[in-house]
Amino acid sequence: MSTPNERKNQLVWEQLELKAYKQALQLCNRRIKKGEKSEMLLTLKAFILTHIATPATTDEAIQIARSLSDRTPPTQSVDVLRLLSRVWSNLGPSQADEVTKLWERAVKSQPQNEDLAREWFWGTVRTLDWRGAQKAAMNLQKSYTKRREYWFWAVVSSLLLHNSLPADSPERKLFGTLAYRMIDKARNDTPADTTVIPARAIQTSQEVSLLLELLSYVSPGDAHKEALDVLNSKNLGVDSTIGGGDWWGLARKRLDLLESAGDWRSLFETCKTLLPKPQNAAETNGNGEAKKDEEKKSDEKPEAVQGRGDDWRVWDGFVLAAGKLYDDGDKAVAKESLEKILEHRKALPAGSSRHGDLALVKFSSLFHDKNDGPEGTPTLLEAVEEYFVNTGNKSCCFEDIQVYLEMLEDSEKKDFLKYVEGKVEKLPEESEKQKIDKVASTINYQKFVYLLTISPLLKAIATTTKAITSFITDTLRVYVSAISLGSSLLVTDNQYGDDAALLSVMGLVRLYTLTPSDQAPLYQSIQILESLLQKSKHNYQALLLLVRIYLLIGAIGSALDIYPRLNIKQIQNDTLSHFMLTRISALLPNDARTASFLSDAGGIYESSRTQTPNMLQLAFERGGYSQMMGFLEFSERVAGSVCRSMYEVELRRLARLSPGYPDPGTVTEVGHKGTVWDNRDFSVVVDCELSSIASFEKSFRPGPTPAENWVRAFVAAEEVIRFMTAYVAAGKEANGTAAGSGEKPKPGDNLAGTLAMALEAGDRAGEFTEAEKPYLLLVGAMAELAAAAARKDGETVLKALEGITSDLFPKTLDPTTTETPAWGLLHKLWMGKDAAIVSEGLVAFLNAVKGLKPNIPKTAITALGEATKKRKIEVVKIAEEAKKSLEDEDKVQALVDAVLAEEGVGSILRKEEGVFGGVESVAENVKRIIGGVVKCFESL
């Protein structure tokens, strides 16, 4: 049951939630006037005042907060303390110390109140106030010496404070040393016999991990050695009772440390002890898959499983170390290594030791250039051939040996392909399983073909086209032939031959990138992918490629149709939604889904902001110390994500280009504490390209990839645009007396400079389209003009205006349209239209500005206004021409004919009616897709 005052406070909170600050303040003032003087009411008032945030309300808030904070005895209410902390936090960094002082006084006045002391600590953790957390944790560990966790909270918060301070801060070293000394004491207090451990000694594997993590931060010089000492120690090391809690995590750390320290002897010996014993490996089929006829009871597990020995990290370290030792002159070790690998493989049925087989490949690769190695070492060619024989029916075969195939000489590559082709041809096809295995092996073979023969083809010449076309038809035939095998697959499964179809699309995309004016390969790709997705409804590779190809041809609405099938949710909004949402507001702003997807994607940033601090608290409570640096970095990377800024820019542009969409407000600061993070996942797309050239996905992006400079430039541009709009709006609010308003917005500091720097850097890094560069130059000039207007410098304003009207604005739309109407033209037209809209904003701004010396002639302002009107007409005209061009019957027929050409892919699309629907269906589909592109141009 709440008290009357609590109910009254609730009314105030309701107003606060509605952002009705003045009403909330009135409610408080009325109660104060009636004589109520409760601490909570006064704190609430101060809290509201910080939200109104004028100089006068800020002063009053400080005054109230000061009087409450200085009361003797200090307040006993945790609720008041919590809210008062928020008041001080809202008052800015200059008052940051006040929160700590407030709690220190309160806690000191109640020295036995552990709950209050903990509450102080949790408050600092939730606000990521590491200075406060460090003090609160130190207080806890000093006051409650029997609670062991407080010691480690003090260590962690000292470390977090250390990490949050600038590198050159003397305090950084101080807190780093403190954290180190405290954890070192815990380490030294841990007895050799850990049967009984003192309270504040290290007792858990998480605390061992904290010690190791701390070493790398505060003891960089000796960190390696010291960390290895810990990991090798009997009481805390990998094989200790305490370390056993995270046995494998620590064992991996030891391998990483040995490798980075170049201690090849120890790495070799350590890996050797971890590798599975042949008899144990045999019991698990080598790859960890238990033999079906040998069900085992849990207490009879083989050692290989217990020890995680058959793990590629161990094999990799083992072979690497052997190679390094061989180079250093220790030939015996290499011999021992080879024997071990061969022994392991011998103990297992052929084909069941994937790691052992691959270790042999890696081992042979070490001697590939030297033509030596211990007796019995196979050549690299022999090793990869054998690997294919054993693993060719697994879809991972290609990526397992890709790096080694690239090491082969040209003649060896040819020999390898010939060998694999021969092996595949001879594979039996009697049973269903054999048929499925043959499809998988054939697909691996085709991936090798792509890597070694298609990927290097970078010139658009007849022989290249012929080779690629042959590859495409071969792979498409594999896909078609495999369809009948998938009749019993589940709806959630992919068909066995899907990767072959994806390879054919890769080939088609290569044809397109070699001759971008010819879009037929893209239309053929769409045909293939849409057919694939009818049978494999959830094949995300196909969905990602289809979204991308629809975007490229300018069928943005069709891409929006497909995109939801990827079911992108939660953190994927930060990592994957860029496939659809990059530059979306300058491609199809007036489709309701555009705004909806952008808003959905943006939600993840608020989720992360609110959820991560609670998870940090949980990690403290549960002693999950080794996770905490990761939680913080995760939260900082989300907060400073390039996509967060990108989507905010998109939403603001959308509000200009899509009438009726509400202004989403200001764009938040770029990055997190100045650092911009790129969390986008491009690598999820299938890739079989040589490592020396760009990935497949990168080869056909719609335009340059926006990154840090792009967001810095466009966020600055949005600030300029927003300033002008706000200035005009303020003038209207002041009944036209623009110059007289005290609340008049001011242009941001050096926006022109920020924009120019980002533009220059981004241009070098290839982040901007040809349409974006002149747009940013235009807005940069507007920023300079605004700064001159603030100085009342009419001469500079006029000069800038004339430059904009005669040069910069016209350049924001290149009227020549030689390209096939596709995404690039749509983007150019929308950017051109947006340039007109922001220039209209400039016209309104110039009309609102008073007091320039000299005044700007009206004719100069009108000239820009006229140019913006003409621009909008011009955009529509170009869009209509594009539409006509797209709908031209001869051109449509030519495209249909190209898609269905009698030779190459067209021949298969024609022939395989059951798969692709037949000639008429394909032709109709091409026309439907063109119709989708036309709609996008109509939307202009």
């Binding site: 594997s205 809690g245 995270d246 046995w247 494998w248 995590g249 991996r252 089929n285 790859n287 960890g288 898959e289 238990a290 069900e295 085992k296 009871k297 849990s298 207490d299 499983v305 793990d311 590629w312 990290r313 990799d316 994937r354 790691h355 691959l358 697994k394 879809s395 991972c396 990526e399 397992d400 589940l490 995300y540 990827l566 079911n567 939660q570 953190i571 994927q572 990592t575 994957l576 993840i604 989720s607 992360s608 959820q611 991560t612 609670n614 998870m615 949980l618 990690a619 549960r622 999950g624 080794s626 996770q627 990761g630 939680f631 970095e633 995760f634 990377r637 996942d681 690598s683 999820v684």
Partner: protein, 185 residues
């Protein structure tokens, strides 16, 4: 090539090869971080040589007395890395942690009764149906019927009497509050 390693918060940026699969649920951030904070050694990723995440397993320790056990919350392998025994390797690791760290009596997991492939795989790994939990899963679409789950268990070393194995567990029906449905909402 595959290697097990501890999952970290930063892996949430990189687990798309698994989480784009329709059968793998994408939870909110706090769900994953909660598991990392509470049961860090129960959350492992399987990566290939270039660091790509091929699959992951997340689990927790729960229960009281003889019900103290390890629970498999999620186990997923990306489509391109199936049929390699990765699920078994990750399950082995979770079982090792249950035995060595948490001293659990058994490991259990829930699986849709219609998911015969998964049930078969778990049976090969030594799991058996302990009970059938009625209406544990929501229907895939609104209006579709809810689905029962099999609670499958495998005894660990501590369960010397093998009390977590029950004859005819498929016929032993229980009605409980729906944990998975609650999470979905």
């Amino acid at each position: 090539m595959s290697s097990v390693r501890p999952f970290t918060a930063l892996d949430l940026f990189r687990f798309n090869a698994t989480n784009l699969d329709p059968l793998t649920e994408n939870y909110d951030i706090s769900f994953y971080l909660n598991y990392l904070a509470r049961w860090p050694t129960y959350f492992c990723a399987m990566e290939n040589a270039s660091g790509r995440i091929m699959g992951y397993i997340m689990g927790k320790a729960e229960g009281r007395s003889k019900e103290w056990h390890g629970h498999v919350t999620a186990l997923t392998v990306a489509p391109n890395y199936r049929r390699l025994g990765l699920a078994k390797t990750m399950m082995d690791e979770l079982e090792r942690v249950t035995d060595a760290v948490y001293k659990g009596y058994f490991v259990d997991l829930y699986v849709r009764v219609s998911n015969e492939i998964a049930i078969g795989m778990y049976e090969r790994l030594g799991y058996s149906v302990y009970r059938r939990v009625v209406d544990y899963y929501s229907g895939a679409k609104p209006g579709e019927a809810d689905e029962d789950a099999f609670d499958m268990r495998k005894p660990m070393k501590r369960d010397k009497k093998r009390e977590s194995v029950r004859e005819n567990g498929r016929n032993f029906r229980v009605w409980t509050g729906s944990g998975f449905k609650a999470r979905q909402k």
